[in-house]
């Protein structure tokens, strides 16, 4: 069974249940937040501009962003509770025949801005109880990936931002954006960019992954409990170094990938995605 939750609707339904006599605090909803923390080298908090290692290669990132969607809590009773947006927004989109249509974006998106620190997003009220895990998509799926982002209200995770997570020169969003430098001469320190993509003498490192077929589902089968009446944080870690391991950075062509013409790099990152995310637990917050 699948439930799709808008936070206000969820609150309303649970309030109705309470009027019917279910007054136990354990049946109260949990106000849930999603806390996404980027780490490197295992458990070291990621900091923009600070070196870390990918295997034996030293790297640093000035931009590390990603878009998560389809956040679904897997309840032990079989329910799948998908978190939807508080306020659906109707915008323009192009369907597959390139006809402009009006389209309602109802998915809940989370823009993880790792270079700015931890991303904490209020997901809204969800049923308390025992959960077997959580599932989400790294990316943007379906027509949502063919919208006019300018139509979205400011502050929406998919609205125009700096750096832009929308390609503009192409339809769709960048699901994973990593911009930084790599050590290319093996001295243990990152090297400067010459400004020329794929220049063998340049330390520039850029990985931008987009296109719907490259969106990747992540399922974290780690049990957790949500307490009724509490505000709690679902704490997820993403290891950025793990996300981009297994790529031969000695090859200059592998250091600059904008999805097109470098699918092997994209495929390697996709293969890393599930192992890069871990569910670290649930933490209480004062209401």
């Amino acid at each position: 069974m699948t439930s799709r939750f808008l936070a206000p609707t969820g609150a309303l339904l649970l309030a109705v249940a309470g009027l019917a006599g279910c007054d136990s605090t354990s049946n109260d909803p949990t106000t849930l937040r999603l806390d996404v923390e980027a780490v490197v080298d295992g458990d070291t908090p990621f900091q923009a501009g600070q070196p870390f290692t990918i295997g034996s290669t030293t790297a640093e990132l000035s931009v590390a962003q990603m878009i998560l969607s389809g956040i679904t809590l897997l309840h032990e009773d079989g329910r799948e509770i998908t978190i939807l947006a508080d306020e659906p927004v109707t915008v323009r989109a192009h369907d597959e025949s390139d006809t402009e249509i009006q389209h309602t974006v109802s998915e809940r998106y989370v823009l993880v801005d790792a270079d700015a620190g931890e991303t904490v997003t209020t997901l809204g009220e969800v049923p308390a109880g025992h959960y077997t895990g959580v599932r989400f998509l790294l990316g943007v799926d379906g027509l949502d990936n063919r919208i006019a982002p300018e139509d979205l209200p400011a502050g929406h995770p998919l609205a125009p931002s700096t750096p832009s997570m929308h390609w503009n020169w192409n339809a769709g969003f960048v699901f994973l954006m990593l911009d930084g430098l790599l050590d290319i001469d093996g001295d243990g320190a990152v090297d400067a960019s010459t400004g020329t993509p794929r220049d063998p003498a340049s330390g520039q490192w850029r990985l931008h992954v987009g296109v719907t077929s490259n969106a990747q589902t992540v399922t974290l089968n780690t049990p957790f409990d949500l307490d009724g009446g509490a505000m709690q944080d679902l704490h997820i870690q993403v290891d950025l170094a793990r996300l981009v391991q297994g790529i031969d950075y000695a090859n200059p062509a592998n250091r600059f990938c904008m999805t097109g013409g470098c699918q092997a790099i994209v495929d390697q990152a996709k293969a890393n995605v599930s192992a890069a995310f871990t569910l670290h637990g649930v933490h209480d917050h004062a209401m």
Binding site: R92, D98, N170
Partner: protein
């Protein structure tokens, strides 16, 4: 630029006409809007509900379109590469951006751009609003990060008030900047041509050589250049060689089957939009017709629609004569009906 200076009063006049009939900016019906007349046979002008053609918004967009404040060094504007007198193209094989830099492709005409399903030679952009950010930020074009552009506009002595007026109090933002310029661009619609008058039944509208050219056109060209806009708006490989630097639509679909394909351009006002093809390789219509007459260059993936036509010299001239009738010059692009 003279033509541009003439346009604004016309737009304002149109807006005032609407206002006089009851649509006043402060009235219950909301702000005055522009009504753009389109030639017979054209579909109604596509205007998204999110970005109506408010007169104040279109006027703001027009000013921004021609203002070099939106380039890094203040040297070029949108209008530098899209000149009204050249049907909003620029006459160069490849446009000059800040510092004299050149990009990969020929600046396409913006005439009737509201009707295009997608934008750019490769169809990468789906919306006029999103499209605007690309030349703004491209280092070969205006080279100005959008945040810097917004900062300039917010500090400008006049723009904040103009934005606030056109967007109900909202100042310069990505949304309002892109909406304003896109609103203006949607008004760039052809005026009727001799070809339109001929299609409407005026047998005198085309000279004999152009009529003969029309027959050749219908025989050889309309599989791609069809309908009132004279384009399928599809993507075709016309046989010219491409490079890895510009592989055509492959750049946006990441699919090698799209290598060498580019948008089929509209032929409206084609005589004013030289040079031709995505890289401006042909300077004249005669050269273009000669290319298709010989059946293209036969590069990999060439469309079977491009094949030798075996035209005589006289027929090639007739075809060019017809193509020259697809121009509304010297009329303004949105002139009122005669």
């Amino acid at each position: 630029m003279r033509r541009h200076r003439l346009r604004l009063p016309l737009l304002l006049a149109a807006a005032l006409g609407v206002a006089a009939s009851g649509c006043d900016a402060s009235g219950p019906d909301g702000p005055a809007t522009i009504e753009v007349r389109v030639p017979d046979g054209f579909a109604p002008l596509p205007v998204p509900p999110q970005n109506p053609l408010r007169a104040d918004r279109v006027a703001l967009g027009e000013r921004l379109f021609f203002d070099p404040v939106l380039s890094l060094d203040g040297s070029v504007s949108c209008g530098s590469c899209h000149l009204p007198e050249l049907a909003f193209s620029d006459g160069r094989a490849r446009s000059l951006g800040v510092g004299g830099q050149t990009g990969l492709r020929n600046a396409p005409s913006l005439l009737n751009v509201a009707y295009r399903k997608t934008l750019f030679w490769d169809g990468g952009a789906l919306f006029l609003e999103s499209q605007m950010l690309v030349p703004l930020e491209d280092e070969h074009e205006m080279a100005l990060p959008v945040d810097d552009a917004l900062q300039r506009l917010r500090q400008h002595p006049e723009y904040p008030a103009l934005f606030a007026e056109a967007f109900d109090g909202e100042g310069p933002t990505v949304r309002t900047l892109t909406y304003a310029i896109a609103a203006y661009e949607r008004t760039l619609v052809s005026a009727p041509t001799a070809f339109d008058r001929f299609r409407a039944g005026d047998d005198t509208a085309l000279a004999d050589d152009a009529r003969a050219g029309l027959a050749l056109f219908e025989q050889h060209c309309t599989s791609c250049h069809a309908g009132p806009l004279l384009t399928s708006d599809a993507f075709e490989n016309n046989g010219v060689a491409v490079t890895d630097a510009d592989p055509g639509r492959e750049r946006v679909t990441f699919s090698d089957v799209d290598r060498g394909t580019f948008r089929v351009p509209s032929l409206r006002a084609i005589a004013r939009t030289a040079p031709y093809f995505h890289d401006g390789r042909f300077e004249t219509l005669d050269a273009v017709v000669a290319y298709y007459d010989r059946g293209g260059d036969g590069s990999p993936g060439q469309s079977p629609r491009v094949r030798p036509l075996r035209l005589t010299e006289a027929e090639r001239d007739q075809l060019v004569a017809f193509l020259r009738t697809l121009d509304d010059a010297p009329a303004l692009v949105d002139r009122p009906p005669d």
